[in-house]
Symmetry: C2
Subunit: 264 residues, 2 copies
């Protein structure tokens, strides 16, 4: 399971404040904590700062790279900001995100190819925010065809089926689970990825719903997630699901996590 640590996001109040104050040490601590907790990528987002997004995204990239060698997830629909960040990012990055929206795609595609970036692709086009499983799979198929046609390796593509709150759309989680299973079957090597927090929007005990949804999604084939790796119970659920789903040989990582006191 590929884990993208989601905490350094300007929509969060504390991060927003830290960016505004150029509090590098606060950002560094967030990066270190997520690396220690098991993140494979560190997501950075400065989208709340219209007009200054490019400047702040680059600042975040620099600051995070001071304390970890983990690759970055560049979280922006803005090709100019992503282009500037890619200039200073050391290793390969993941671009989070593109979609079939033509304007968004036109700016990002040259970057994906130039920097051989991995890419998160949302099941979303100019006309459609995919809600049904059929619609999600349809758009996924179009994105995969387009990206592989441009020479992007299938293993670099992470399809995000879009998650809507179950409080307002009761079949939302079911549609995502079905879509994940069908997208993973479209072509060997493709990945699926989700953020979790949308699913529980408007309901209480959200962390319980989020980790329950993660387990269900993993059992349907989800192999990447944008999550908070410092959420102890979430990571325990993820570790248990990997052991159950045959993704942890001899349950070795599960037993190690138990010995380190991470499961109870």
């Amino acid at each position: 399971m590929l884990i993208i640590g989601e905490r350094i996001n300007s929509s969060r109040q504390t991060i927003n404040q830290a960016i505004k104050n150029q509090d590098a040490e606060f950002i560094r601590a967030e990066a270190r904590a997520q690396a220690k907790a098991g993140a494979h990528y560190i997501d950075i987002n400065a989208g709340s700062f219209v007009g200054q997004e490019t400047e702040y995204l680059c600042w975040l990239a620099e600051v995070v790279q001071e304390v970890t060698d983990l690759p970055l997830s560049l979280d922006s629909p803005n090709a100019d900001a992503v282009a500037a960040a890619l200039e200073i990012v050391k290793g390969p990055a993941i671009i989070n995100s593109i979609s079939l929206e033509s304007r968004r795609l036109a700016g990002m595609l040259p970057l994906i190819k130039k920097y051989k970036s991995k890419v998160v692709a949302l099941c979303q086009s100019d006309e459609v925010m995919a809600a049904t499983a059929d619609s999600k799979v349809n758009i996924a198929r179009q994105i995969i065809t387009l990206l592989t046609g441009e020479g992007v390796p299938i293993r670099d593509i992470y399809i995000d089926p879009l998650v809507y709150p179950v409080a307002t759309e009761g079949q939302s989680a079911r549609n995502v689970l079905q879509a994940i299973e069908r997208i993973m079957g479209l072509i060997p090597g493709v990945h699926t990825i989700c953020g979790l927090t949308n699913i529980s929007y408007g309901l209480p005990a959200r962390r319980l719903l989020n980790r329950t949804f993660l387990v269900a999604a993993m059992s349907h084939g989800l192999d990447a997630a944008i999550i908070d790796p410092t959420d102890r119970e979430l990571m325990a659920s993820l570790t248990a699901a990997e052991a159950l789903l045959g993704q942890d040989e001899f349950c070795a990582r599960y037993i190690k996590a138990y010995r380190e006191g991470k499961l109870t």
Copy 2:
């Protein structure tokens, strides 16, 4: 989700002792606690007492029925014990369990028909303890054909795909998940049921693995489980999974459970 409360089982030390001592109040307290925690059936098992199983199973049935109107799950492969218990059980019961093993079946089939009992049927025959998904589905199909041919309504049949420890058989959970999905698709109205505790045998933090497995199984269609309903975290996971899977209109039960302090 149908919940069969598993606690009154003679393989548990405290229950074994209570049966031996004919401590009716201890058994009553276990029945009451499970009813309060949300069980729909109370399972009773006296299988540890060879030679006295019939006597003790009937005693358990009487004692439990003193404190709850919930129906009973008669947990025995012994047709004589089940027959005697059915004589004193007030309402409809569930027989737990039969299989395709010819001796077991020969004794139980007349009881199922006479008492219009529901029945748990294991994916197991004289020759096979089904391990692969194909083998589980095959035996399930044979059992369903046989039972419906005898006039048992499909809605009264609960197929148990058999769960083996993931510690010794890494694909065990995956096989069960696939089997559940395929069995639920065989014929509308059929049910699937699991015990959970086998899955985690030999591993630490077993309750975490059990509830993680329950969520994955529910997301593949499992609609009944033999569990300990007094396990608070297990029930929270179950309640969250029902909300996510569209089995809890407007998430009303989930919100009620939250208000009652059951989710955190």
